[in-house]
Symmetry: C2
């Protein structure tokens, strides 16, 4: 493409209402424009990127044996009533009435439509398993759309659905999609992790999220430095420390701690590390009685894990200061197990501790040298806390590190939620109807573009991974007047690049070099070749990769091969 | 693809609610399934066809220099209020309220959105002309959706918009799109005509429709047998006959025609051809007085042309029998110019007639040997009638023939309708703001698929033009048990076809030959190769083109080259 025929809608100013860097850069680089809140037009440059993502997704889905179809955006309410989601789905579901006052929605997802299609078309177990997908515009009426296409209302999604006779077939289909997703994000050149996740409102038994790692990500992820284990930090299992609990070595001593309420204050006051302290938190038990939770002073009680404990009331209720005073005779900052005869649950780390420091159930007093069994009841044990950096990985390989991520994909084992509701059954081997088991698998295609920018940018603009770059190479003829030699050399290189199938962008504007450099850096073209009169005279051109700090002079003779090698090295998707 | 991994959703029965053949065949061949009235899912086989159409459209649009972008489906009401169409557009506009009760619509077209984008982004005449397009899902809430994807509510459309500084630039841009459309439909292998059309409700000065010719088409088209002239039959100009009006040769004679009301009755009674008679029709003039229209007995008054006459009231009102009796003293079947002193407008053909037969303005009486000037007033002259088969073509080349067509594309010169309403101006050469001039250009991508079937089918199913075929070659191994040799030969051919880039479908089902033949004919694969034990022994396979009546035995040696040659001959898009 020539810039004269492919206008760049770049802008210098950072748009005031764009909070995150990807949104700012997508506007500044001329990839998108806002039409309404959470509704964006993809400009030609942005669409090239979107289509490249789409193409990689399509290729890998096809390679995995999934069949592409194309379902309508507008879906009849009847199917959503059949699944029960017409009522359950909140105002995010954009409801529509047609001219005959019949109810429809603009599909936020397609479980109902695909399950309806399945039950009409697939009759026998012999036709299973089958995985169907589409790449299509969805609408979710977010209450507060923001961050550009990252949390838009109208967006492009790849959604796939698999149908199986049994759980083991679902497991295989799920794995195939997991593998395809890994290929997709790898080919797209993104740093990512498949993260164990809660399956949320879609329901189902097992799910993983694919997160692009970026400091600006909304989700906190714990991942192993020694394996591909990763989980939402709230869900990652905290293992028990190795070894046995040491024998008591100190006598329990009641110490005055006037005005001390927090672990930090306690440690400073007693000159001890937080690892020697035990923090107590009180929640309501299933029998409405207080349950005492113990975690190490430097750890935090994890509410999601706590709520899953059989001893604890659901939904989780933290005890009020009044209830605590009634049960313990002290304020929340001075609690401990000593003297408490109710249910005590200690974190796996705490139960291995000896001679620890804890509240004395009296304001302004603590105990040191406390030991389970000797000074207080032996507690029940559970995984109560959130993991921290350096914890051993739950899969036994390496230790955990923390990162932030942007969710770009999700694989679910749906089970029979929709197939049972819509009675999607096939004739089994024994001739009897069997409700099928389903999986569903989404990729936020437009969101991937924003996530890639969050991960790959600098102060000058976007740095596209090769597979997503709208153009691979920018060819910039510079110099006042652009001599015929400069123009011809640029044109020849441009044509040669196209001839070998490399997407090149020739900046044939009559612009100053600074303007051209700034534009090409802003829009993130991975490779740049500058052609000037002076270098040309020496038989050279100036090359710079988007992440390079310096220019490299390259001989024109053999330039194309040199560039192709460079492109191969950095990957072309 | 292998049928074992690419299930065909073919059905034998003709669906009851499908009225037209394309709808029936699209359902039977498993291309689409209905989700709701006018809302269809594209199954994998159908989507392959749709994508092939899309690809040809995209390539030719790009070649013509148009830039692809992607606008949202959901559009804010404010823009439609600014253009005035929020009020004007009837219930076909699917109006939506979001969770905040803000008004939107599901875009049936994108003039407002693109004009809004333009006015924000394009500031100078130097950036013109520019043509932008998208391929996108639209929604029009048809009161009676029918004929499958032919008149669906949700459908895929390519819509392009061009922006110009002046009319001559618009004319160039319009011509470029016209040429691109001609390339597109030619490449798709369709018989089509570009038809002069009324610009309808979108407004603008000049427009042409692209029609795929098919007997089942909704629109009647007049086209030249000697040029590319074509027009909606209602709009085609009827030229004046060559030569002068003959001198009168007969005396005017009043003849009794008891009970005669129609031209057919008159001709039978007097033993004369209809070409010698003149039919009279009365409409209201601008001054509410009756205007007498004269067309030849075998012609029909054209209401669209008549309404455009300055002498005639708008909208057109045909005079009532009472008004006619008051003005002429006779019934509608007995009218003529003799003795009438009001406005008389004769068709161009009539004004060249001499010695004609016409009503005598008295029931049961006619005149023969009537001549203008001598027996009645010399009339005003206009093009009053619809063209008929055999008329000279208005462009002076050849004569007109009639056909029926399905509109699949439309090119418009919009002018400033939207740019003026939305104040889309650029800085002109003189520094002053100038409202731009626009064109818009649509192709009903999903409709093209149905139109192609209407034009290309037989009693056994679809006959895809090469460029639209979901697969080019079907490879069918047959024979009980499918010997290893048969399987291997089929597999080898399939792999060889894929290796040279030919889309092949291997029917690896364990089905009877009749089932496989019927399926492949129904889904319209252009080329079929049958591999059987008996022929294989003789070193041969059986070939049949979809339109062929007989099989051809072809030697396996050189089969691939033979097939490639055959594909080249029949076009591969």
């Amino acid at each position: 493409m020539r810039v004269s025929r492919f206008p760049l809608f770049t802008v210098k100013e950072t748009p005031a209402d764009a909070e995150v860097i990807s949104h700012q850069l997508m506007l500044r680089a001329g990839l998108i424009r806002k039409l309404a809140a959470g509704i964006y037009t993809w400009l030609p440059l942005g669409l090239r990127v979107l289509r490249k993502v789409e193409a990689v997704v399509r290729e890998e889905m096809n390679r995995a044996g999934a069949l592409e179809l194309f379902m309508p955006a507008v879906q009849p309410a009847e199917l959503w009533q059949e699944s029960g989601r017409w009522q359950q789905y909140g105002p995010e579901l954009l409801r529509i009435k047609d001219r005959h006052q019949r109810e429809f929605c603009f599909g936020p997802t397609h479980e109902e439509v695909i399950t309806d299609l399945f039950r009409r078309e697939i009759k026998s177990y012999k036709q299973l398993p089958i995985t169907l997908y589409q790449i299509q515009t969805k609408f979710r009426d977010e209450i507060r759309p923001r961050f550009g296409v990252m949390r838009a209302r109208e967006f492009l999604m790849k959604d796939a659905y698999s149908f199986h006779l049994d759980q083991s077939s679902l497991q295989e289909g799920y794995q195939a999609m997991y593998d395809a997703y890994s290929c997709i994000f790898t080919r797209l050149g993104l740093l990512f992790r498949a993260v164990l996740a809660d399956s949320g409102s879609i329901g189902g038994s097992r799910s993983q999220e694919f997160h692009v790692l970026a400091d600006s990500g909304e989700d906190a992820i714990a991942f192993s430095t020694g394996s591909d284990y990763a989980a939402n930090v709230e869900l990652a299992e905290a293992l028990a420390p190795m070894g046995e609990r040491p024998a008591p070595g100190e006598a329990m001593t009641r110490v005055s701690t006037p005005g001390i309420k927090t672990i930090a204050e306690l440690c400073a006051f007693l000159h001890i590390p937080a690892e020697r302290t035990v923090k107590a938190v009180v929640v309501e038990g299933v029998d409405e009685q207080p349950v005492l939770l113990l975690v190490r002073g430097d750890h935090e009680v994890n509410a999601i894990k706590t709520e899953k404990l059989p001893q604890v009331k659901t939904p989780l209720v933290f005890a009020s200061p009044d209830a605590i005073r009634a049960a313990f005779g002290a304020s929340p900052g001075s609690l401990g197990a000593v003297g408490f005869s109710g249910v005590i649950i200690a974190d796996r780390t705490v139960v291995k501790m000896a001679d620890f420091v804890t509240g004395a159930n009296a304001d302004d007093w603590h105990f040191t040298g406390v030991n389970f069994g000797r000074d207080c009841l032996e507690p029940e044990v559970a995984d109560l806390r959130s993991v921290v950096e350096g914890d051993p990985s739950p899969d036994g390989h390496g230790t955990l590190a923390m990162a932030r991520g942007i969710e770009v994909g999700h694989v679910f084992q749906l089970g029979q939620k929709y197939s049972a509701a819509l009675n999607a059954a096939v004739q089994g081997e024994d001739g009897q109807p069997e409700i099928v088991t389903m999986g569903c698998y989404g990729i936020g295609v437009s969101r991937v573009v924003a996530a890639a920018i969050e991960q790959n940018h600098d102060e000058r603009g976007i740095i596209w991974p090769a597979a997503m770059a709208p153009f691979q190479v920018a060819v910039l003829p510079i110099g006042a007047g652009r001599s015929a030699a400069v123009r011809e050399a640029a044109e020849a290189l441009y044509q040669n690049l196209l001839a070998v199938g490399i997407d090149a962008l020739l900046d044939d504007r009559d612009a100053r070099p600074g303007v051209m450099f700034a534009d090409m850096e802003l829009i993130g073209i991975p490779h740049r070749v500058v052609i000037s009169e002076r270098n040309l005279t020496a038989g050279q051109v100036e090359y710079r990769g988007r992440r390079d700090v310096d220019n490299t002079l390259v001989a024109r003779a053999g330039l194309l091969d040199w560039l192709r090698e460079r492109l191969e090295m950095t990957g072309r998707g």
